[in-house]
């Protein structure tokens, strides 16, 4: 240790450029006359040079950049909604889930985007009942749930490619039994299953992959008023495909090509054992 411990912090301050003019002059004057403190100064500089010369600073990995970018997207959401108004004040709960997404499409002027005519007609009727207030709440929640599943390293609660494990896992967790077909030979390997929450209700999420992309298949019982037709939408850069079968309602969400997602629906339906 230096013989002048009271000077020590000032020497560090000098090196770090943190001293005011008066203190700078004072310590520099002292250094001229004190060999111990000069040695101290040299040692500090040697340590700093050692640190500066080595590549010690880590850069954030590319994948992290990407995930945080996606997260900001998910957090930002599509459009601010009126905060004081409940999400769907005029919508009966049952109607909400089935009609939310479609009604929003009508309301937001995207209704011509390739929906079947019958669906449009049906939705128009709904849209009258539920104007702008519906938003794209269902789709928002699905996409956000999809993004969240990719973000937090919590893609699946039960990680297994064995469908005989995934299917019973849902047993006792949800009160319906989603089919879990093995689609690996069609290029959609099973990753696992997860329990999620949409509209404050539990929903089964079955996770498949297409190449490096994740497909989240959300399944829940179809509501009495839900529309039987299929829906294909693009939302926040993600594709969503909806269909109903065997009393269940399915939403597949992914960033894979729309064609791939439609193929997924096709093979999933053909491989699912008919429940009826």
């Amino acid at each position: 240790m230096s013989l002048h411990p009271d000077k020590l912090l000032l020497i560090h301050g000098l090196v770090d450029g943190e001293l005011d003019a008066a203190n700078t002059v004072a310590i520099e004057t002292h250094l001229k006359s004190c060999a111990d403190c000069r040695a101290e100064l040299e040692q500090i500089q040697a340590v700093r040079e050692l640190i500066a010369a080595a590549p010690l600073r880590d850069r954030a990995p590319e994948g992290l950049h990407k995930r945080i970018d996606l997260m900001v997207d998910a957090e930002a959401g599509p459009a601010p909604r009126a905060p004081a108004v409940p999400h769907r004040p005029f919508m009966p709960g049952r109607l909400a889930w089935a009609g939310g997404g479609i009604a929003a499409h009508i309301a937001s002027g995207r209704w011509a985007s390739g929906l079947a005519t019958g669906v449009i007609a049906a939705s128009l009727a709904l849209a009258v009942v539920m104007p702008q207030l519906a938003h794209t709440d269902m789709e928002d929640q699905l996409v956000q749930s999809h993004v969240r599943s990719l973000l937090v390293g919590h893609l699946v609660d039960i990680p297994t490619s064995n469908r005989h494990v995934v299917k019973p896992w849902f047993n006792g967790k949800v009160d319906f039994a989603p089919p879990v077909p093995d689609l690996a030979d069609q290029g959609f390997p099973l990753v696992g299953g997860r329990l999620d929450y949409i509209d404050d209700h539990e929903i089964a999420a079955i996770v498949y992959r297409r190449g490096l992309h994740v497909i989240n298949l959300f399944v829940r019982p179809a509501r009495t008023l839900s529309l039987p037709g299929s829906v294909v939408v693009r939302h926040e850069g993600y594709n969503l495909v909806r269909w109903t079968a065997g009393g269940l309602e399915y939403w597949a969400v992914s960033d894979v090509e729309l064609g791939d997602l439609k193929l997924f629906r096709q093979v999933y339906i053909s491989r699912s054992t008919p429940v009826a």
Binding site: M1, S2, L8, L9, H12, G13, D16, E18, A35, D36, A39, E40, E42, Q43, I44, A46, V47, R48, L50, I51, A52, A54, P55, L56, R57, D58, R59, A60, P61, G63, L64, H65, R67, I68, D69, M71, V72, D73, E75, A76, G77, P78, A79, P80, P83, A84, L151, V152, G153
Partner: protein
């Protein structure tokens, strides 16, 4: 400890905050990207040295950015980097389940004149041989500094923050930061510099 209240500003989840004049949705996201994204390397670097683990560091940074985004409405245009690093540090403490006291460490004088045993052990000739090069040895040595000293050293030497900014992040007086920094450099000098450079100090 009031620090947590200060540093976990109100999360912008309540309706009241959203109705304010703060930018929302796309505007908020744009402003956030412009101001906070450029500091991701700094955030990761700090998290990396605090956690001493690459994947844990990623989790901490991701968590930090989520919290930063949600409390972005409380950012008042001050220097973005220290603001963000404060959140990173908190997320680290959160992740290890530590109280804020954890990074407060023992009083500085407790360390004076003694090197932690694990530090001395880590620089025996055998382990030095195992260290491929000087840089990785230096890194390993820094990683083994006790937390408060490591944190201060990283913020000063690698992130080049001022004493004042470091004090704000670590929630201690500037004098404490100065002592910690001096002590951290002293430890590194003892461990890394050849004896000949230090003969004047004995």
């Amino acid at each position: 400890m009031t620090g947590r209240g200060l540093l976990w500003p109100r999360l912008a989840t309540s309706a009241g905050l959203r109705t304010g004049d703060a930018p929302r949705g796309p505007d908020k996201a744009d402003a956030f990207r412009r101001t906070m994204m450029p500091h991701m390397d700094a955030a990761y670097n700090l998290a990396r040295y605090l956690t001493r683990d690459a994947s844990a560091a990623e989790d901490v940074v991701q968590d930090a950015y989520l919290r930063a985004y949600r409390s972005f409405d409380t950012w008042r245009g001050e220097a973005a980097k220290p603001w963000l690093l404060t959140i990173v540090r908190n997320c680290f403490l959160n992740s290890v389940g530590g109280a804020p006291e954890r990074l407060a460490g023992r009083p500085v004088h407790d360390y004076v004149g003694e090197l932690p045993a694990e530090l001395i052990e880590s620089t025996t000739p055998e382990s030095q041989l195992a260290q491929k090069d000087e840089a990785s040895m230096l890194r390993a040595t820094i990683e083994q500094l006790p937390e408060p000293f490591r944190e201060t050293l990283i913020l000063r030497e690698l992130e080049e923050l001022s004493y004042k900014e470091i004090a704000a992040i670590s929630q201690v007086p500037i004098g404490t930061i100065m002592s910690r920094l001096a002590r951290a450099r002293q430890m590194l000098a003892d461990l890394l510099l050849p004896d000949i450079d230090r003969k004047a100090r004995s």
